[in-house]
């Protein structure tokens, strides 16, 4: 039997295994990677290197800027045609692979099941692809009559000089629908993160504020950075509905462009995935005066906390009572399952390397069932997602970051919510936190190992060292880790399960962990004759 890491006296200092990892690297690489591997000390508050280039030749988890822009932020919105300008692959790979569930009303537009591409050819590379792009836009309009078309640049597009923005303007004029482009060529940034920022800018400039819709609810909010993987947003919609909170728009799970157009009429923005969407929250506050708060609906405790935070913001006894009623009812259900599962999972070890927020949020769910996170990190986050937003002023702005436009936003004199600014001031005095995110590291144990942009070599060594009971990452890591005898839970696609957000989601996740941590199949990996050798026959019956 494999000897488990003993953590009863706290987590062991992983410095030795870090040295072993570094020993394999060429000196220059070791020097660079060293800054991205940090032995955590929440009391001290250490600095981690993040959002820097991946070293060529290193087997990384990361994807590209296009993936962050089209795949993550715009992809989940159903009533827009997302037209990919480039060779066929980029659109093909982003076709239905991210599990953004959506629920259109009967007859309502839903283009998520479609893949649209200009499929540019070598002649377009030589002579330019703008003419083909315009034709493709016209054809898409003629056949599908969409409300909006987004145009996404892929790597060669920027290099051959196609201007998707001028084409968008021209086509918008010609066809009379909202058409806008994104310069989200794959190479623009160091990871998907650049694409998030580009998408945020594009949506803010071209969509938000297009419709000053009248108030439709007493408490109007937006949910930002919730992409409805596995139906997470559905579970949250259920909770808001029951509490009487009006969800104007979600960016961008189960969403419509139409709802984003009037999202600036909200009273409050809630942020789930800080990394991918904080730009829009900041810009909406600057322009419209809508405050934002960071929440996490991953984990039952977090969900309760988030609901209370919203109720506290609106400061309404009726709303607070309703929220407390929901929490009490839901927590009862949660507790029954949690206790039963925890009895089987307590003391197990987890590692998670994923995304820009999930590697933090999911630690809460694991804690609830007694599983300790020994090592974690993000694929494409920035320092503030690790260390908290306080470090933002001290983050060095490198050439790769400078490459992404920072929009200058001005107050909308007509729509700016002075009342909300006053409300914010008052709440701040009472200790209510706005515009804040403390990041992952303050919440992780001393000596836990925090790693940014983990690569294959590090993954292999750390599995050997920690022998975790469960590893959380994505599809590329899934079978690599499982071949080593450790179950892997995908936290991008949820392994086609979910929802895991909210209270129902927490129950689903506990049960999923019970399944994964208690299955007998891993015990069958080793052949019985490995420990009980075959008798070597003195006479052969084979031939």
């Amino acid at each position: 039997m494999v000897k488990k890491l003993d953590i009863t006296q706290g987590l062991p200092d992983p410095s030795k295994v870090m040295d072993e990892i570094m020993a394999k690297y060429p000196t220059k690489i070791a020097k660079k990677r060293q800054k991205s591997l940090v032995v955590n000390d929440p009391a001290e508050g250490k600095e981690i290197q993040a959002n820097v280039r991946t070293i060529p030749g290193i087997i990384t988890q990361r994807g590209c800027t296009y993936a962050g822009c089209k795949g993550v932020v715009l992809g989940p919105t159903r009533d827009i045609i997302n037209l990919v300008h480039g060779p066929i692959g980029c659109s093909f790979y982003a076709w239905l692979t991210r599990r953004n569930q959506t629920r259109p009303a009967e007859g309502e537009d839903n283009f998520i099941t479609y893949s649209f591409s200009t499929d540019i050819q070598d002649s377009n590379i030589v002579f330019g692809g703008e003419a083909k792009l315009k034709d493709a836009v016209r054809e898409a309009f003629e056949i599908f009559k969409p409300k909006a078309i987004g145009i996404f640049s892929t790597c060669p597009v920027g290099l051959i000089g196609d201007d998707v923005h001028s084409v968008s303007r021209e086509m918008k004029e010609e066809l009379g629908i909202n058409i806008f482009g994104f310069s989200c060529e794959g190479y623009r940034g160091v990871s998907q993160s650049a694409g998030h920022h580009i998408a945020n800018n594009g949506v803010f400039k071209n969509v938000i504020g297009n419709n000053n819709r009248e108030r439709i609810g007493k408490y109007q909010i937006n949910l930002l950075g919730e992409y409805n993987i596995g139906g997470d947003a559905f579970e949250l919609e259920r909770l808001f509905d029951e509490a009487g909170i009006t969800l104007l728009s979600t960016f961008s799970g189960n969403s419509t462009i139409e709802s984003m157009e009037y999202s600036h009429m909200a009273d409050l923005n809630l942020i789930m995935c800080h990394r991918s969407i904080n730009y829009i929250a900041e810009m909406m506050e600057e322009k419209y005066g809508i405050p934002w708060v960071k929440v996490s609906f991953i984990g039952a405790e977090g969900s309760a906390k988030a609901l209370r935070k919203v109720a506290e913001y609106f400061d309404d006894a009726e709303l607070s009572a309703k929220v407390e009623e929901i929490i009490e009812r839901e927590m009862k259900k949660v507790e029954t399952v949690r206790e039963a599962v925890k009895a089987k999972t307590e003391g197990k070890l987890a590692m998670m390397f994923v995304g820009g927020s999930r590697a933090h949020h999911y630690q809460d769910l694991f804690t609830e069932i007694g599983v300790t996170t020994v090592s974690a990190g993000y694929e494409f986050a920035h320092r503030d997602d690790y260390e908290g937003r306080d470090v933002i002023p001290s983050i060095k702005i490198d050439a790769d970051t400078r490459n992404i436009e920072d929009l200058t936003v001005e107050k909308d004199l007509e729509l700016y919510r002075e009342d909300l600014a006053v409300k914010k001031e008052k709440l701040l005095k009472n200790g209510y936190e706005f515009s804040n995110y403390d990041g992952m590291m303050p919440e992780m144990k001393k000596n836990s190992l925090v790693i940014d942009d983990i690569n294959h070599w590090e993954t292999e060594k750390l599995i050997e060292y920690y022998k975790p009971d469960i590893f959380c990452a994505g599809i590329k890591e899934k079978y690599v880790v499982q071949k080593s005898g450790v179950p892997l839970k995908q936290l991008h696609s949820y392994d086609y399960g979910g929802p895991y957000a909210g209270f129902e989601g927490a129950i689903n996740f506990y049960l999923e962990m019970e399944r994964m941590l208690c299955t007998r199949i891993w015990k069958m990996v080793t052949t019985p004759w490995k420990t009980d050798p075959e008798i070597v026959g003195s006479f052969a019956i084979n031939e």
């Binding site: 060429p26 066929i88 070599w457 590329k476």
Partner: protein, 460 residues
């Protein structure tokens, strides 16, 4: 409805592709390179390419798919990717220790004009390639051809680098496999063994992408064509190339470089294509066909005669790659089925000619198209005009299947929602039997589910 916007009204398109029946070159190059032993594929471009290709192959095989990337940034896109690739080669040999790095390009590195051959030569002259290690390369511009073209280009790159002609002619055949599953490559080897034909199979992804669970991750699993085998291909008697789109370039290269003549053949899917394969093996290998092969063929024909009534006249829509679609259409026609709609995003002029030959007499109403705008959206529109009884193609067909309530057999790439393709072949007579079983199960399940209660049959 999942595909709510698809109607039977067909508007001529020249620029817009909707729901493609192809993807881009590099993923094919990555797959082909995984079929040589001890090889780490390397994608020379943005990180996203490598990530997308690994993800797609991983979803299809549910196996580790390892590959590295040059991780281009804006700077490398402007100044060229040479520095990235040189650094990558050093890092890969130091950290991941493969015997071979198989570099393919991307639309990005091709557009900026990176010359892989020149960069690899520089790596060699700079001493960045350790003794006994190899860096091979293939240009795979994503804006030309399709994923199949990338497979063909990598295969060509492999033989170009490794195959050597010496003075010792080898009593063996080269078998260049088209884009098929590990199970199919395993099946090819089984057939070759039954036929007692010595051979080198290239590539060979069996024991790479169907590896067993034993508690240990192997970065380079035991399968894959080995370096000595690839070197020896230059001394073989003859090459049988299976699938024109995927293997012709490599076959021509072996002929030009090492004077090994080749026979261009279809993938052995169905009765006739397998017959042709077996006959060439017999002729070129100077062997007789063993009884066991006759029996396998006989069993396949037997089952078709047994179940003919469920197959006869059934209208089928197919999509995928020409190398599969051509022998598959032929097989369906041989079973008296009607492949009425066929699309492939992969361009190539012989597609139409071959389809015409197979279909003009027996299925004159058939519509087929390949290349630009030959996509699943068009095929679905044809189905809306006049429906079919069966769909055969990759996983993306499930949306049409559900909307139109049409039985669906998964074949091709990618299959990301079912297992089986890695383990049960569709090549050869036994593979034909599997295709047949799947078709019958789908059609007969549909009959069982949809027929009036009084006609619900116990015995079928």
């Amino acid at each position: 409805m999942l595909l709510n916007h698809t109607t039977s009204k067909i508007v001529e398109r020249k620029a817009l592709t909707v729901n493609p029946a192809k993807t881009c070159q590099p993923v094919g190059a990555m797959y082909a390179a995984l079929g040589i032993h001890g090889c780490l594929p390397h994608s020379h471009g943005s990180q996203g390419c490598c990530s997308y290709h690994r993800s797609t192959l991983t979803r299809h095989y549910k196996e580790p798919v390892m590959a590295a990337t040059s991780s281009f940034t804006e700077g490398s896109s402007v100044f060229g990717g040479q520095a990235n690739l040189l650094q990558a080669i050093t890092n890969i040999f130091t950290i991941y220790e493969p015997d071979i790095i198989a570099v393919h390009s991307t639309c990005l590195s091709e557009t900026i004009g990176d010359d892989l051959g020149q960069i690899v030569s520089k790596a060699a002259s700079d001493g960045k390639i350790p003794e006994g290690k190899h860096v091979i390369q293939a240009p795979t511009p994503s804006y030309v051809g399709s994923h199949v073209t990338g497979y063909a280009n990598m295969l060509e790159g492999i033989v170009k680098y490794f195959a050597k002609k010496s003075d010792n002619l080898k009593n063996q055949l080269n078998i260049l496999s088209g884009w098929v599953e590990p199970s199919d490559m395993r099946e090819l080897k089984r057939i070759l063994k039954l036929m007692k034909v010595k051979n080198v199979l290239l590539p060979d992804t069996s024991d790479v992408l169907d590896s067993p669970m034993n508690g240990k991750f192997e970065m380079y699993p035991k399968g894959g064509t080995t370096i000595p085998e690839m070197v020896s291909m230059g001394d073989s008697l003859h090459t049988i190339a299976l699938g024109e789109w995927a293997t012709e370039k490599a076959a021509i290269n072996l002929d030009n470089q090492c004077k090994v003549k080749f026979s261009m053949q279809d993938l052995p899917i169905g009765i006739q294509a397998t017959d042709r394969f077996i006959q060439s093996l017999a002729k070129l290998g100077s062997v007789s066909v063993p009884e066991s092969i006759n029996d396998e063929r006989g069993r396949l024909v037997d089952v078709i005669t047994d179940m003919h009534q469920y197959l006869y006249g059934k209208r089928v829509a197919l999509w995928g790659d020409p190398d599969q679609l051509i022998p598959l259409a032929e097989f369906l026609v041989d079973m008296d089925m009607k492949p009425v709609y066929i699309v492939s995003g992969t361009p190539g002029k012989t597609f139409e000619k071959r389809m015409e030959k197979i279909l003009s007499k027996s299925v004159p109403e058939a519509k087929y198209k390949n290349g630009a705008n030959a996509d699943m959206f068009l095929m679905h529109q044809w189905i809306k005009e006049n429906p079919v009884d069966l769909l055969i193609g990759n996983t993306y067909g499930k949306y049409i299947s559900r909307d139109e309530k049409i039985p669906f057999v998964r074949m091709g790439f990618p299959i990301i929602d079912r297992i089986g393709h890695s383990y049960f072949p569709t090549l050869g007579y036994m593979g034909g039997l599997r295709i047949l079983e799947k078709i019958l199960s789908e059609l007969m399940d549909q009959q069982d589910a949809a027929c009036p209660e009084e006609s619900f049959e116990l015995v079928m």
